[in-house]
């Protein structure tokens, strides 16, 4: 049984800060890391960028918020992750603009973005193939949603955050979360069709 760890950093003096049990924090990270990777991967469409953004979010959570109450970790973690994802997207756009005139850089960038999915497609059964295709179509349509709708849909539906937690992770009101989510579902239903 591990004992609470005296975390480094300034968080200990903050109101509401608590002692950290490293094992609690590790269990929390283990419970979110794979889903967080898939969410980041859907948006960034690149394994390395998705891995880096999840690792950044884990590091930042531990460094700055480890001593916050455990109930705050999930929305905080996803808030940091969403910021990291946006940061990677912006950097990619900037790189694209800066190196557009340099064919070698441009083609390398495109090749990175098109890296194949990390999902292991080993079982070559028809159901598996159909599921893979359906998932690919869902990811394609999700990627075309406005960013806030994308976030609301993935946090609510994939990660299972409730409205208050999603609002915390997105830094907006609960009403906005409901609006973004409902628009996302509506648009996806239209684009994916009744059969989906």
């Amino acid at each position: 049984m591990s004992r609470p760890t005296e975390a480094s950093g300034q968080a200990g003096d903050e109101e509401g800060a608590v002692l950290v049990d490293a094992r609690d924090l590790e269990r929390f990270l283990a419970s979110v890391e794979q889903r967080a990777f898939r969410i980041a991967r859907i948006v960034l469409r690149d394994d390395e960028d998705a891995l880096d953004s999840v690792q950044d979010a884990m590091l930042q959570l531990v460094r700055h918020y480890a001593r916050r109450p455990a109930a705050e970790w999930r929305p905080l973690f996803y808030r940091i992750l969403q910021n990291r994802i946006r940061d990677y997207q912006r950097r990619r756009q900037v790189r694209g603009r800066l190196f557009a005139w340099w064919p070698a850089f441009a083609s390398e960038e495109e090749a990175t973005v098109e890296t194949d999915t990390a999902v292991d497609a080993a079982p070559a059964v028809v159901d598996q193939l159909m599921a893979t295709q359906a998932l690919a179509e869902l990811e394609r349509q999700l990627a075309e949603l406005p960013p806030r709708q994308q976030e609301a849909f993935m946090l609510r539906n994939f990660e299972g955050l409730d409205v208050a937690q999603t609002a915390s992770a997105m830094g907006c009101s609960e009403g906005s979360v409901k609006t973004h989510y409902s628009r996302a579902v509506h648009t996806l239903r239209q684009r994916l069709g009744d059969a989906w």
Partner: protein, 125 residues
């Protein structure tokens, strides 16, 4: 068809199916990805147990690297920027700063989150 999950959020067929597909894709993550996520988690937890160096020491190597990188990049792109209008050159400089920055959003994240938290708490009280 509409059902309800554990946070009383009603789910229609699209929401259920997309959730099922997502869960399957998480279960089917490759061993390599799982392993790298585990390594990342261990590295993050290790940071909890180690004392952080003084702020100035922590930033010195990063600041040095950033200055060198900025100087090299500035030399490389000076010609291209000089041929652009002034506003575009300023934008390009901002872009370079973005590419070179690392943790600049940390403080913003903290301020935004706690401002939001305070607002929510005062709304509820």
């Amino acid at each position: 068809m509409v059902s309800t999950n554990n946070d009383s959020h009603p789910r229609n067929a699209l929401e259920q199916r997309s959730r099922t597909l997502f869960e399957a894709s998480v279960r089917n993550l490759s061993a390599d990805i799982r392993s790298r996520l585990t390594q990342g988690r261990h590295a993050a937890i290790a940071g909890l147990k180690q004392p952080q160096p003084a702020t100035l020491h922590k930033w010195l190597p990063a600041a040095g690297a950033a200055v060198v990188a900025l100087a090299v990049t500035a030399v490389l792109f000076t010609g291209a920027m000089l041929r652009r209008p002034a506003s575009e050159a300023t934008l390009a400089a901002d872009d370079l700063a973005l590419l070179l920055e690392d943790d600049s959003l940390d403080l913003i994240e903290e301020i935004e989150f706690y401002a939001w938290l305070d607002e929510t708490r005062s709304d509820r009280s």
